[in-house]
Amino acid sequence: MVEPIYIVASGLGIAFLLGLFRKTGESLPGLIMLLTLAFMTFVSGQWLISLMFEGGTPQYTYTAGFKPPFSINLLMGQSEAVITTMVNGVGLLGGLYLLDRLKAQGVNSMIVFLLLFVGLNVVVMTRDLFNLFVFLEVSSVAIVGLVLLERSTQSLSAGFKYLLATALISGILLIGIILIYQYAGSLYIDDLVRANLTAVKGGMVAVFLILIAVALELKPFPANGWGLDLYQGAHPGLGALVSGGFATAMVFVLYKLLPMAGGGWQYMMATLGAVTFIGSNLLGIKQGHAKRLLGYSSVGQIGLLMIVVGLSQHLGEALTAIACGLLVSHFLAKSGLFWLAGIIQKDGLRDWAVLRKKPFLLVLFGTFIFALVGFPPFPSFFAKWELIMQLSAAEGFAWAGIVLFGSLLEGIYLFRWLGYSIKLDHQELPSFRLPWQKILPVGISGVALYILGYFATPIASGAGSLSYLPLAFIVLVFLLDFLPARVKNVLSLAGMAFYGYMIMPGLYENDGLRFLFSIIFVIGGILTLLPGFAYTGKRRGFYPAALLMFAGLGQLLTAETLLQFFFAWELMTVGSYILIIRGKRSMRHGYTYMLFSVGGAFLMLAGFGIAYATSGMTSLEALGQVTQWAGWASALIAIGFMTKTATLGLHIWLPGAHAEAESDVSPMVSAILLKAGVFGLLLLFISMGAESAGSKPLFYVLGWLGAITALIANLTAVFQEDAKRLLAYSSIGQLGYILFAFAIMTHVGWLAGFTYTINHFMYKAILFLVVGGIVMRLKTHNMYEMGGLIKRMPYSFIAVLIGIIALSGLPPLSGFAGKWLFYNAGIEKGWYLQGGVVFFSGIIAFLYLYRLIHSVFLGQLKDRHRTVKEISPWFLVPAYVLILGIMAFSANPEWFLKPFGQITAPYFPDSQLTWQSDGTAVGQLGYWNGTQVMAIVMALFVAITLWLIMLNRNAKKVKQFNIVYAAESPETPETTHISYNLYAGYNKALGVLTRPGITGLWNWISEAVTELADQVRRIYSGNGQTYVLHVLTYVVIVYLITTGGL
């Protein structure tokens, strides 16, 4: 094996030798430089493999044959191997990326480039404090030298400010070193750790000066204006090196030196990290410049790592895995992003829309963003999970909260940026060059994130047998994305069917609850994939996203541990986000959806942390074993799930997201996706002890929330002009019913809940499928632009008619079963007032349902629709399959309700509902026989129809235009249409309830946060002297705080 010293020797030696090549042109030296970096990477990688996987022993290299403290020595241990491999790797890829720039600048720049990496390697490996200082200076000077790759005034001034600040910091470090030497008589780090220097006053000052200097090199908020200016002003290739190489090495230096100080200091470092993580990500929200934003994000992530290093004593054995997971994700994602910035050469975030021209770059961009926020399957996901679990286990809930809050802030600007690049309207999208040596590093970073994510899985407690098979299939579909949509649709359907075949029989045997949801997720998935055949072209990106969502949903059901559940939840979120943002005007809605999802997921994660901490278990049963803070845990998790069920207050993402989505996406995200939240809530309720928990105040609150959600959402639906928006609000209302029913926490209440769940799945899928099909034909969402379509689309009419009868809860269709159970349960529970609210909202539902059928299908056919065809059979077929389901439920309710009873019985054994042999259900308050009701209503229907035909036998048929017009023609014709503003009267009376007060509240919050960010970031005045003052003030304030003087 090659000795570690050769990393340094080769770099240093070649750097000197390169000077001889000044006359040979730049190609040869460039090649030599890359080969040297490759050699350095090879050596450190070799040690990495040996130490990590082959049980090799760490190696000390002593200089000049003396043992420390009389010589400088280098250590190549496991951590050093990891860090040097990362640093050299970014050097190799970054060197390739910058090669043309370096060639243009001449051989000297290549020498400087090599010296930067020599410096960083020594900084990582050395065990001597002064040696560390020297090579830290070498790296800093090299960075400032490389700033000259770009010779604009901006980069020059940024470089000068950077130089000024780092010179000051190294002065502080130097004073610290000489003081340390005076008190300890050694500069060997291992000696210093043993010496317990902080016990004496002078020693404490020395340690403080050294640690604060290292902390300052990490560019902590707010003393980091010089660093941010460098990120913004310098060539993005250098930004990648600073963020991926220098910062990585410095985090390790902090980790190496922190043991010199005692425990209290570690909290101090964690606090500095927390301030940086929150502060930097907060300021990022207002930032519009891409490279500076990357700087903010970079500083923030390093802050997170400072927290991890500072709290290392609480993380136990998980420390290395957590730190590596976070570090490697940040390293790859951030260098990748900087390199991307250099490729497209756009500074404004909005201009990143050009990425759309090259879909594979867009995919890489998305990969980096998701990796930074910590989504699966990237290493950061597992690391963040484990960090939260370990912090919770040590009862550091405040720290966990800080980590999650900071991550949310980061998500705010990163997902806005991603949204811009996917969807922002852009007049012109200029093309850009794609040299292979610039694409290669970005691509390698992206692919490495996936591969390392796979290998990082065991980091997280409870990863268990996490299945990557569905993801592998999705990757396959993604690689086949060049195929026509129809082919991919067949492939996806086959995949879904196979998946169902794999999981459903097992669930049927063992778990009725999960089987019920598997019907919704898998069968529903297959049915809603069918309309895909109506699309032509390639539909790039649609199938991987849809499959990702369904894989997430399916894995929710098979999850056995908290981690597996959360993994599945996040996969589902990513998939559904991509699906939703595909809609034409969905940029804003996709963004809102993502923020609520991320926020909700983090609340869940906090709740899971409490569960893990108090139960000590990683399995899902942990939720039921929460011994302390149980109220907090269940409230956090419940709110997390309610972001998906769109309960009032957390619903504002839904109407736009569902309404603007593509025609076949709306039924997926409405009829199916929302049920994931319901499933989660049920798991939570069950684990809380079902029956015994029913009296907890949480359920009283949830009951009221459900009722009010139903009322407000239904009322808002009434006033919509947009058919899909109407259905979206209706979904919010229906989910309110479901929440209400389950919150009753009795046998009958749950029966009602299940009935609503399965029914909402069926009729909302039917309605969205048909309305989606109509929208595809008519190219409008507005109901007043439709009308009279019954003649052109009779099958659609029948489907919608059945859908709305079922939804309204009128006999004889299945909705009535839900209502009947619902009132039984509400009255038994004694929730009269809430029940009254729900009853009232049920009546309101008639208004919007009538509007839907009347405005779309009845009335006058528009001229332009005279030749319109029936909607695509690919939309009709699944709708009619679901109608069969509704009919079966309606005619024979016991086929469904009895299994629901079996599902419910383990949790609520004392059922008040009994079944007679003829299929009559008997509750405490009355009885009901679905089959008989069906028969009676059918008989009445036939009788009345016959009677009407009789009465009308003498009526005269007239043509559509056989009517008399008034003498005026209105200027805005649609306002005179009966369907326009149909319920104006009601709007006057009750409309006040539908004013978007909650949207206003969220808007106010977002404006307040943005304004705060804008005010705070003004501390970065751009003046180099101010930055130096920041650094000095930072040192003084932190000193006063640590010594208790403040």
Binding site: V134, L156, F160, L174, I178, Q287, Y1020
Partner: protein, 123 residues
């Protein structure tokens, strides 16, 4: 009470130089003057280092007639701080040179050396 020795004078002078240097960096608008400030700051640190490393009554760490090999450990001052100062001086010169190079480039491009004129990058 301890007498005021050479090392005290050195350390006091060094600290004064450090403070003067910082004052220069923070208050002078001219980049050249700021660089001079840095130079003073750096020199101050070097003097402090020498002062801290000096031990009263011992001699330079050079083995010649005045210092016998056997007695060396007792007679000479610790050579390490001095070695460090030498290195630090070299690094300081490097940084000063780089600063001056930047000053030159900035002046060539913008015909000014006022640090306040270079604040395009902010927020």
């Amino acid at each position: 009470m301890e007498q005021i020795g050479l090392s005290h004078i050195a350390i006091t002078t060094g600290i004064l130089l450090i403070l003067t240097g910082l004052w220069g960096i923070l208050t002078q608008k001219n980049i050249i003057k700021m660089i001079i400030g840095f130079s003073l700051f750096d020199t101050g640190i070097h003097i402090v280092m020498v002062g801290v490393g000096y031990v009263e009554g011992k001699t330079a760490p050079i083995l010649d007639e005045a210092v016998q090999l056997k007695e060396a450990a007792r007679q000479i001052v610790d050579p390490l701080p001095q070695a460090m100062v030498l290195t630090a001086i070299v690094i300081g010169i490097g940084i000063t040179a780089l600063m001056l190079a930047y000053a030159l480039r900035l002046y060539q491009k913008n015909k000014t050396l006022d640090i306040q004129k270079f604040n395009d990058l902010k927020w």
